[in-house]
């Protein structure tokens, strides 16, 4: 057993860490407070290969492995969770989906620019009545000659406002639940496809979150990913991979919380001593560091399993569950260490506290992760 990154993975971490410190972190406050999409940063990340980390070079990616992807997500999230949210949707929810299930033509048309960071995409699965119950899709699709016709509403769709295209899930028959679900690529500007609401969020405010409406939206038949009825399988397989990304994002937020806790506690003086010299603070720091390291190891293991080609659904769920709860624990403690300063907008503790919250909700809530883990143990 070796708990070491390869030399390339170490070099890659150094590069992303430096990039994040110089290009991402200085903009994090503005991205959050003004709710601005980090267009420039995403473009630069695309040039470096960060928008298609594990996608082969033939399809515009960098051809690295899932461990590298986890490293990159962690380092970017450590600097700015909003930016890492855009990154994870492009990389795992849409990029990985197109690479694993898309046709050659779909890969060339949609995956190549996406993995190069020249386009942004979104993954439209959730609905007003179908979040955790993804098989209960109410959005319908019917075949009409050479086109598929979509009708329905999608909720809480990350990146939708800036997305050049969406991968939309819909059913051919609500009665047969999972067996009727299809995945379709829908380009921005397709008649019948509109954004009806941009949500105001607690955290990750630099990434958009929208409600989408499809009204007799006609999509070319060649935009069907896989086959009719394969959509649920595609959605779930993609979420397995996505959970590694969110786990890594949560590890990054937790590490960010540790960073600011160390920095603040060593320079903040109370009772004529740095507060880091008090055991009450030391214990909180030790707990943050220990849990963060545990979450990191589980995340890397899930990524490593994926790279080896083995099954990793349970491990991805475990990593996502532990890492997201760790991010919230770490951010809560970091805010506490900062005292009153943690509660105000001049200091980043509150941003981490707000950003961490989503990691327990999206790409499968903590409750769903427990269901997945228990099902694997009990089956």
């Amino acid at each position: 057993m070796r708990f070491e990154l390869t030399q390339e993975q170490q070099l890659f971490r150094e590069m992303v860490r430096e990039f994040a410190a110089k290009e991402v972190a200085p903009r994090a406050k503005q991205v959050d407070e003004e709710g601005v999409f980090p267009h420039e940063t995403i473009k630069k990340m695309g040039e470096l290969g960060l928008m298609g980390v594990a996608i082969p070079p033939a399809y515009g990616g960098a051809g690295a492995d899932t461990v590298c992807y986890a490293i990159a997500m962690e380092e970017i999230a450590r600097a700015c969770a909003s930016t890492s949210t855009v990154m994870t949707v492009n990389n795992s929810l849409v990029g990985d989906l197109l690479y694993r299930f898309g046709s050659e033509a779909q890969k060339l048309r949609y995956l190549v620019p996406l993995a190069g960071g020249r386009t942004v995409a979104c993954y439209a699965l959730s609905e007003p009545g179908a979040g955790s119950d993804a098989a209960g899709q109410q959005t319908t699709v019917r075949k009409d000659g050479n086109v598929f016709v979509l009708n329905g509403t999608k909720n809480f769709i990350t990146n939708a406002l800036e997305a050049d295209f969406a991968v939309v899930f819909a059913t051919v028959d609500r009665g047969i639940r999972a067996k009727g679900v299809c995945a379709l690529i829908v380009e921005k500007g397709t008649p019948g496809f509109t954004i009806t609401k941009v949500e105001k969020k607690l955290g990750i405010r630099g990434s958009s979150c929208c409600q989408l409406l499809f009204e007799e939206c006609r999509v070319p038949a060649e935009n069907l990913v896989g086959e009719v009825g394969q959509g649920f399988k595609i959605a779930m397989a993609t979420l397995d991979s996505g959970r590694i990304g969110v786990a890594a994002q949560a590890v990054g937020i937790a590490q960010g919380a540790l960073d600011i806790s160390l920095g603040y506690s060593m320079q903040r003086v109370a009772f004529e001593k740095p507060i880091a010299s008090f055991q009450a603070i030391q214990w909180m720091i030790a707990d943050i560091a220990t849990r963060t390291e545990a979450a990191r190891l589980m995340t890397y293991r899930a990524a490593w399993l994926k790279d080896r080609g083995g099954r990793y659904t349970r491990e991805a769920s475990m990593a996502k569950l532990l890492a997201s709860e760790t991010a919230n624990f770490a951010a809560t403690k970091a805010l506490q260490i900062h005292g009153g300063y943690g509660y105000i907008y001049d200091f980043p503790a509150q941003r981490l506290f707000r950003d961490a919250r989503i990691t327990e909700i999206y790409e499968g809530t903590s409750e769903i992760q427990r269901v997945v883990i228990a099902q694997h143990l009990l089956s």
Partner: protein, 268 residues
């Protein structure tokens, strides 16, 4: 005109660590690495960037050389991922404690072993000790010209034009090749971030390690025995901060007193 460029890089402890974490080992009189990472000395990265830009424009080849411990292979991998074509590590206990002149001698011998070269680039100041000696010593060893504090280089009519930064501006110096330049930073030579695919490609390249015997070094010119410079003491500067209240009955009078005091302290 394609250029064969040698870039000398040094691995140092990350100089961007907080001052409070800077520690010196009183025994070795060296900085303690602790958990801090090792990086390429900052100006050496600028030199590498200048070399890669020249290669992209003119064609040719960039070879990075580092004299150091086995850990310097990581710095050389970084150089490869930025765009260097080849990298060579010179690592031998016999040269470990060499002074600046000894290191310059080793670098010169390694440069000659690489073969034909048009340009040798180094950083203008080392990121750890703040030394500026190696470039000039190395040029002397190689018997070529040396231009220091160069920010930009252009190839023109079979020569190179070097932009040398001076106090009030810059000088343009035409030089026949081969020539050595020590590089200073400016906005045209900010080191690029290596692309992920280039990091992966660099990982697959092998870095040869040359020993003293490979370079046929004169043992009397390297190592601690040959060193002409000895570090007698190293210490952290003591920083004192004092607060002085400037008196005055009105804001105007306070401002005038402040200006007078600053002038007295020769700060303005």
């Amino acid at each position: 005109m394609p250029l064969n460029i040698i870039v000398c890089i040094k691995q140092v402890i990350d100089p961007e660590i907080p001052a409070s974490q800077f520690k010196i080992d009183p025994g070795t009189k060296r900085q303690v690495q602790g958990s801090h990472s090792l990086v390429i000395s900052a100006y050496d990265q600028n030199a590498l960037e200048v070399a890669i830009q020249l290669k992209e424009k003119q064609g040719g080849k960039v070879t990075a050389i580092s004299v150091g411990a086995a850990t310097a292979a990581t710095a050389l991998k970084s150089a490869l991922s930025m765009g260097a074509d080849e990298a060579i590590l010179v690592d031998d206990p016999a040269i470990a404690a060499s002074d600046q002149q000894g290191i310059a001698y080793v670098l010169a011998k390694a440069t000659q072993k690489v073969g034909t070269f048009d340009l040798v680039l180094t950083g203008c100041v080392s990121g750890d000790w703040g030394d500026r000696a190696v470039p000039a010593f190395m040029a002397e060893e190689l018997g070529i010209g040396c231009v220091s504090f160069v920010s930009r280089i252009e190839a023109k009519d079979g020569q190179v034009v070097l932009r040398r930064v001076v106090e009030d501006g810059y000088e343009l110096i035409e030089a026949k090749t081969p020539v050595l330049a020590s590089v200073i930073s400016d906005d045209t030579n900010t080191p690029r971030y290596p692309k992920l695919k280039d990091i992966m490609a660099a990982g697959k390249k092998t870095i040869p390690t040359w020993k003293a015997a490979d370079l046929v070094l004169d043992p009397d010119r390297v190592g601690s025995g040959a060193a002409r410079v000895a570090i007698t003491d190293v210490y952290l500067p003591l920083k004192e901060s004092k607060c002085e209240m400037i008196k005055g009955d009105t804001p105007q009078e306070q401002a005038a007193n402040l200006a007078a005091r600053l002038r007295e302290l020769k700060l303005i």
